[in-house]
């Protein structure tokens, strides 16, 4: 090769690269599509989740205000009235770019007053049914109240800041599943939520295959303590990512599980901190999403999107009542399961696939052993999720 040619070829290549640069994908936020940069056109992401949102100054002010409102001394509540006052103190909500996040509850469209009223009702009517390991209302309240004002403030700030980073994901889910219009200029402000499309074109409507399931059904486990449905569900979710598993005791420690159970907020935190299911090619950061008021079709579309588009498991959060799980011997508490499949074929009722941590036979000779991997008519799971006092899900 001559010396001249040695110089010319790289120069030509550099020129070509510079010419093409405006059309190349710009990092993680453009989902790899090529579009003329002179006339950018964007559509909301649907094939993958939104990436992390930048916490704005306005969000920080809102977080500061909500945290400051909680810097009060909280006496241990021993009466119903005191518990109601405690709920009003600790279940505080932040408005983050048009979406509402309530401490200990998650993302919701209910008013803060309605959220607190729901919690107070759950406290007034405690279910004393057998527990499988989901934290009940009293446990949720006591964990929200735990610690000094300073310690609570630090915990609240961490929870709200983490929530703020998921604002774009929440907006996209509400837009796609609930038909809520995105605010004006939202996609311009949130590159983590958009995908570039050719100018003048409209993105295709999202469709999902009729059936799909993820995770290896051999990577399942039965909970070894009556109150370890959370650690076992977490064990199976992480096992599905890492292809090797750690003990339920390990996950119980990570989740802060006690004999009073596990909180769904802890489940979501552990999935985010210990797997890649939360990366942008899967579900993005997992959030606790209130599904109260969601129709079955909206809920089902969420499940399908999570399994098919995100290829990531769902933290199911039902209440185990016989009317929803008729094969059970009697009613039981809230519960965690691992959602991992769906099937919609031939106009038959929809089926949801999940891993069931609860080995009923291990703790009760009145019930036979059933396989850990189960499929069932999805409407029952929807109703069981809706009937839980928190009516939320980890996605």
């Amino acid at each position: 090769m001559s010396r001249n040619r040695t110089i010319v070829v790289p120069l030509v290549a550099l020129a070509a690269l510079l010419a093409a640069a405006p059309f190349l994908p710009r990092g993680i936020h453009d989902e790899g599509a090529i579009s003329p940069s002179a006339q950018p056109a964007y559509a909301p992401r649907t094939a993958t989740a939104a990436g992390p949102t930048t916490v704005t100054a306005a969000m920080r002010r809102e977080i500061d205000a909500v945290v400051a409102a909680g810097r009060v001394r909280l006496p241990r509540p021993v009466t119903a009235a005191a518990r109601a006052r405690a709920v009003r103190s600790v279940v505080r909500c932040a408005e983050l770019e048009g979406q509402r996040y309530c401490l200990g509850v998650g993302w919701t469209t209910e008013s803060p007053r309605a959220v607190r009223t729901g919690m107070i009702r759950a406290l007034e009517r405690p279910r004393t049914t057998a527990g499988t390991g989901d934290a009940d209302a009293r446990t949720v309240l006591s964990r929200l109240m735990a610690g000094t004002p300073a310690a609570r403030a630090a915990r609240d700030r961490a929870e709200l800041t983490s929530a703020a980073r998921s604002v774009a994901k929440v907006w996209l889910l509400r837009h796609e599943l609930q038909g809520v219009p995105l605010p004006t200029g939202f996609l311009d402000r949130h590159p983590e939520a958009r995908v570039a499309v050719a100018a003048g074109t409209r993105p295709k409507a999202t469709t999902y295959p009729k059936h799909k399931w993820i995770l290896n059904p051999k990577h399942t486990a039965a909970q070894t303590r009556t109150y370890w449905c959370g650690p076992t569900a977490a064990q199976m979710i992480v096992w599905g990512w890492r292809d090797k598993h750690r003990s339920q005791k390990h996950w119980a420690e990570r989740l802060g599980t006690t004999t009073a159970g596990t909180a769904i907020s802890a489940m979501v935190r552990v999935v985010n901190n210990n797997t890649g299911w939360d990366n942008q090619w899967h579900a993005g950061k997992y959030i606790v999403l209130d599904i109260k008021g969601w129709s079955y079709n909206q809920w089902w579309k969420l499940i399908k999107k999570h399994i098919s588009a995100y290829t990531a498991p769902v933290v199911l959060h039902p209440i185990l009542l016989k009317k929803y799980y008729p094969y059970l011997d009697d009613d039981a508490s809230g519960h965690f399961q691992v959602g991992r499949g769906y099937k919609t074929l031939d106009k038959k009722p929809d089926l949801i696939g999940y891993f069931e941590p609860w080995n009923q036979q291990r703790f009760d000779p009145s019930e036979p052993y059933i396989a850990r991997s189960q499929w069932r008519v999805a409407t029952r799971s929807y109703r069981a999720n809706e009937a839980h006092f928190q009516h939320n899900i980890g996605v």
């Binding site: 049914t129 059904p217 051999k218 129709s295 799980y325 009613d331 703790f363 991997s373």
Partner: protein, 377 residues
């Protein structure tokens, strides 16, 4: 639902992580077993089910598939939340609110009720024409259950209790069933899990059949023609056998696919039973009945919902199509009918509750939830 004290009785083989024991293909929702020869069931079957056992009945006679007629019962809407447990005979109504903390019993000129003891909640509400039984259980299932029996014919509110101090004590959990003055519940005989049989009129109890070590039983279904229940072992999944119960003796239902049983009931000279074709769809069963000529395949049903009431066996069936109604199916020994249809959209039924001469069922759908009751034969 659980009972740490009883856990030692039934130690499952795998501790810690337990594979589902299936391949990815077997795990699919429609991997129903293919027909094939099925072995004769055994009362204490202890071998694991084969990988693809048949659920087809093994009778020598022909299998027919009757087409259901539509024959709704005379349903009456109960003015109750579908969230609460309600059973009614028509004359008497027994209610347990969703919290399980109390019960109320309303009848001709009377209204009674009770509160569960501290840490207890009501888990079963049984009603017949002459008796009501409410069963309370503690949250941890470490204490014996407490059943309150109410004489509906007494002029005043009279109750007596069956609990851990009874001659035949209650267990910490387990199934209960009431028919006439016959009541069955779980008890322990040493380390064996047994059935207790109570004659309510004489208030006398006896120990009935006891499961072999690491075995159990549930789903007792009692009617005018006798009692059936499900027995099972500690395999993964359990080998499950539907049996007839006669005192302390059990006899496996003939013709039922080995280890695949779900529930059974006796009706006249015949038998009705359900089986689980796919262990990964434990809620979905296929229902069969004996007929004069052989066996009738009565179609799909929902596990845990089979009951005998009046002169028929009834069970819930999920919608046939995604927007169809859930159905309550009825078999009277010769005719299959649809006795109730729910509203449409996201529909399903709760387990039907028989109370003497009436049947109650909770119905859930996009069209609205309801509880309905109807007199039976």
């Amino acid at each position: 639902m659980r009972g740490p004290r009883l856990a030692g009785l039934l130690i499952v083989v795998a501790v810690g992580t337990t594979a589902a024991g299936c391949s990815s293909d077997d795990d699919s929702p429609h991997s129903a077993a293919s027909p094939g020869a099925a072995a004769t069931p055994s009362a204490s079957a202890s071998t694991a089910p084969s990988a693809t056992p048949s659920t087809t009945p093994t009778a020598s006679g022909p299998t027919t598939t009757p087409t259901p007629t539509t024959a709704p019962l005379a349903w009456r809407k109960i003015d109750e939340s579908a969230e609460d447990t309600v059973v009614t005979t028509g004359r008497w109504t027994l209610r347990v609110p969703q919290s399980g903390r109390s019960f109320s019993l309303d009848g001709p000129g009377r209204g009674e009720g009770g509160q569960a003891a501290s840490r207890f909640h009501f888990v079963d509400a049984l009603l017949d024409d002459d008796w009501a039984v409410v069963v309370a259980q503690d949250k941890q299932e470490t204490l014996p259950q407490r059943a309150t029996v109410v004489d509906l014919n007494a002029k005043t509110f009279k109750t007596w209790t069956i609990d851990g101090s009874s001659d035949v004590p209650t267990a910490t959990g387990g199934s209960w069933a009431l028919y006439g003055d016959r009541l069955v519940h779980a008890t322990l005989d040493g380390r064996r899990y047994c059935q207790a049989r109570v004659d309510i009129t004489s208030r006398s109890s006896t120990v009935g059949w006891c499961a072999p070590p690491r075995n159990g039983w549930n789903s007792p279904v009692i009617g005018a023609d006798g009692e059936a229940m499900l027995t099972f072992d500690a395999h993964h999944p359990s080998c499950r056998t539907v049996v007839t119960v006669d005192g302390a003796t059990i006899t496996p239902f003939p013709d039922v696919a080995r280890c695949k049983g779900a529930q059974g009931a006796l009706l006249g000279d015949g038998r009705v039973w359900s089986v689980v074709p796919n262990e990964h769809r434990y809620e979905a069963v296929e229902v069969y009945a004996t007929t004069a000529d052989g066996i009738a395949d009565l179609g799909p049903g929902v596990n845990g919902t089979l009951t005998v009431c009046g002169d028929a066996v009834l069970w819930a069936a999920d919608p046939e199509t995604d927007n169809g109604p859930a159905r309550l199916m009825r078999w009277d020994g010769s005719t299959l009918s649809t006795a109730y249809e729910s509203g449409r959209g996201a529909a399903f039924l709760g387990p039907p509750e028989c109370a003497g001469s009436a049947l109650t069922v909770a119905s859930f759908s996009d069209s609205g939830d309801e509880q309905v009751t109807a007199p039976v034969g």
